[in-house]
């Protein structure tokens, strides 16, 4: 059991309901792929959305391991400028 800090940007904020919240995970550590499954289970509206995940301000994917207290940012395609 651990908690990560989940930050949602752009339109994803409308799905998670907050730009920053604690997100509890039953394991001690998860891969990014596993985290995505947990997120989809908790927020079904994420299904089909395009987004990238940054952990502690670096883009990560696949087997990268997410641990307790990490800052996890969900980022949809950028639209600055």
């Amino acid at each position: 059991m651990m908690e990560i800090r989940l930050m949602s940007y752009g339109g994803l904020k409308d799905i998670t309901g907050s730009d920053a919240l604690g997100f509890a995970i039953p394991q001690q550590a998860v891969s990014v792929t596993e985290l995505k499954e947990l997120l989809l289970a908790r927020y079904p509206a994420l299904e089909g959305k395009t987004f990238r995940i940054a952990v502690n301000e670096r883009f990560v994917e696949g087997e990268f391991e997410v641990g307790s207290g990490d800052n996890v940012a969900l980022m949809p395609p950028f639209s600055g400028g």
Binding site: Y9, E57, A73, M75, P76, P77, F78, S79, G80, G81
Partner: protein, 148 residues
């Protein structure tokens, strides 16, 4: 010249044309400059079905945006012999007709200033974690998407 520490590029609200005029004036001391290339993004009152965009509200992952912008600056200075490069992007609400992005590249010769400015604009649009929320009259909104 490129710096070691990421510079801030964000301002709250729109970018003032008066401020842009002042920025241009400040470069008159640098008499080795021969060419300035400027890009400005302006919020459009696009029509979506019956509604018109009245403003865009910008949010960003600021730390990632600034460190990415720093990398872009370093790459641009390595690639082009620029005299200077200034970038400003709005956060928060920018109304239709107001300026939300200002890129200002200066060099001895025009080609470098023009090419560097264009490349910075393209990289900002693609690589900076910034999001625009298009706000319509009556609290409705949709999330902006950049064209390729």
């Amino acid at each position: 010249m490129s710096d070691k520490k990421p510079k801030n590029i964000f301002v709250e609200g729109p970018i003032s044309p008066v401020k842009i005029g002042e920025d241009i004036a400040h470069h008159q001391k640098k008499t080795n400059i021969g060419a300035h290339s400027i890009f400005m993004g302006q919020v459009r009152a696009d029509s979506v079905e019956a509604a018109k965009v009245s403003a865009i509200e910008y949010t960003a992952h600021q730390e990632m945006a600034l460190s990415t912008m720093h990398e872009i600056r370093e790459a641009i200075f390595a690639k082009y012999p620029l005299t200077c490069l200034h970038i400003t992007h709005s956060l928060g609400v920018v109304k239709a007709g107001e300026i939300c992005l200002f890129v200002f590249a200066s060099a001895v010769h025009r080609k470098e200033a023009i090419d560097a400015c264009e490349e910075v604009v393209e990289r900002i649009k693609k690589e900076l974690p910034i999001w625009g929320k298009e706000i319509f009259a009556g609290d409705q909104y949709q999330w902006k998407e950049n064209r390729g």
